[in-house]
Symmetry: C2
Subunit: 359 residues, 2 copies
């Protein structure tokens, strides 16, 4: 496919804040947006003219959606394989659905990363209490048991420390197919947010540093306080992953920086085949936002400049009641407030974020 | 009225690019948007969920629209008085409709500015060929005959140079009630884009410098290359105008800089009671865009920081076929492209703009 023209329609699966910010960025470029989500009051529906509210397995709705758009993309990795298959029969899906298969399953993802010669946390396949026992014998305690599929923000995982009964731990993850991950004593969590275009061009934002609270991203700071060599190495790993996956769009690669080696060592933690919370700072802190970059890439357009504004950019998530401080944030000099238009606030729910560019 | 909360709905009259960019900025703040326009394929309809496509004089549609929103604003000054009256019976209209009456009529606007002790071009009321002859005798040639109402981008005006027959000139403006403006030999055209909040707070962006081609804005450069005293004086005049009009929202004041006096002298040319093309640079070149600033103001929220990014910001309009260069602009390092989603390109039609921040 050649480059889409302004006026073309990008279909987005999912209607959350990522889809909303993608839609807003697409509008800037003169693209039309069609949101597909099963949730009627999803925030992305508020910012576009074409909407399909239907189940992800409603094949008639999927076919009609695909026929009405020029390319399909998605805001989340848990798109069912059959959904992608139905859509692909009609229109290009970007990033390509092979990437979904890779990133939906922690075991497959880790094997893929390992196959590229890139370090991950040590891991073992767990299908039963017995295989869990073998895995714990191999990787030790503490270690983390995670379901292979559908985990996010700390859901579907449990820590195995001294004294934990393995049968209880396996129950805690619903006795689902899982992996055990060896515990990585990391000094920092960082992420690469980057894009690959249809012509193979690759552009990364500054490596950024993430702090999680209660398993949810709390702040991202760009650039990360690591050596230039570490930053380069992290971006090179993301590039190798994107190239091996024949990736088109924005990709995020989360890594641990381990300080046990002489210097810094990097371990890939997770791949997100989409725009990512740790890239939200680019909306106010970079020449091209990750959202515009993704829309450019999936539309087959050239990638934009990824240069950072200011000396440092700090993004803080507004989780649950944090967003009640919106009026205070609006009064703060230089704070850029983003609210996602969610009607209901719940503890742990991402309601918005605030970006501060330090000049 | 107190501050609206995120989740509240702002109604916008008009569906062009200004309404579109207002809607996108409102979404960032978690506001819902309802667009009212009589033109079915207007670009702002693409970026919001609530839409009314009806005539501006359809009183039932206006009442239903007003009832469904929390505050009403507009993207253009030619809102009929009756429209504003119907809306105001239901919801606050911001900026207040007195401002519409002021800015819809060039004669009333100039008299208002003059009443504040602020210089305008010399002007005279024209209602006939006879009064035109008197006005030309007073103000000389060259001078410019402009209809009092509904002129923009050079429409509804004609230049009276030596040899022009006054009857022909009056015909050229449709024999409508008009004003004759004395010709101002200006060195530069500049504009103040500023906002006034419901609490009277006033914040201006850097004075910017405008170049017109064929009576249409071609480029805006911020900051304007004038003395600090001139920049301050221009902003003070805009503030005086906003205060006298009890203004709430973003206002633009276009001025001529005349270099005939010792130093620089300022003459107010025109007031726009809305976001303005010469403020588009703020989308990429300032902490808070003029669109977010307007939405904050009309929602009763605190105003945002107006600081400029970079040493200089240059905005260039993409008029008609200029927008066909979109792919080239997307490839240009650091250029920020905005397209308005207009389906039909016509000579003289504003299709988008591109901003370049010089760091």
């Amino acid at each position: 496919m050649t480059m889409l023209k302004p006026g073309a329609t990008v279909g987005i699966l999912g209607g959350g804040q990522l889809a909303r910010m993608l839609a807003l960025a697409g509008a800037r470029l003169g693209l039309k947006i069609h949101i597909y989500s099963p949730v009627a009051n999803d925030p992305a529906f508020e910012v576009c003219a074409a909407r399909t509210c239907a189940d992800f397995l409603d094949e008639a709705a999927l076919a009609a959606f695909a026929e009405s758009v020029d390319v399909v993309t998605y805001e989340f990795e848990n798109v069912p394989a059959r959904t992608a298959e139905v859509l692909e029969a009609h229109r290009p899906v970007r990033p390509n659905p092979k990437v979904l298969a890779l990133t939906q399953d922690r075991l497959v993802e880790k094997q893929f990363v390992k196959s590229l010669g890139i370090a991950t946390a040590p891991f073992a396949d767990v299908t039963s209490v017995e295989t869990l026992a073998e895995a714990v014998a191999q990787l030790g305690r503490p270690s983390i048991l995670k379901t292979r599929r559908f985990g996010y923000d700390g859901k579907g995982q449990t820590k195995i420390v001294e004294g934990v009964e393995l049968a209880d731990a396996f129950k805690a993850v619903g006795e689902a197919p899982s992996i055990l991950e060896g515990f990585v004593r990391f000094a920092k969590e960082v992420s690469v947010v980057a894009a690959r275009g249809i012509d193979g061009e690759f552009r990364a934002y500054d490596l950024c540093e993430n702090v999680h609270e209660n398993h949810i991203l709390a702040t991202t700071t760009a650039p990360a306080a690591v050596s230039a060599a570490t930053a380069r190495a992290a971006i090179d790993k993301a590039r190798a992953i994107a190239e091996a996956a024949e990736y088109v769009g924005v990709i995020a690669v989360e890594l641990f920086v381990v300080a046990d080696a002489p210097g810094e060592r990097l371990v890939v933690n997770e791949i997100a085949p989409r725009v990512h919370n740790s890239g939200h700072w680019t909306l106010d802190g970079a020449v091209t936002s990750q959202f515009e970059q993704h829309m450019r890439a999936v539309a087959g357009m050239p990638l934009g400049a990824t240069r950072r504004h200011g000396r440092q950019v700090v993004m803080r998530n507004l989780i649950g009641a944090d967003a009640d401080n919106w009026a205070k944030i609006l009064r703060e000099d230089g704070a850029c407030l983003h609210l996602y238009g969610k009607t209901e606030s719940r503890p742990g729910r991402k309601m918005g974020h605030v970006t501060r560019v330090v000049s």
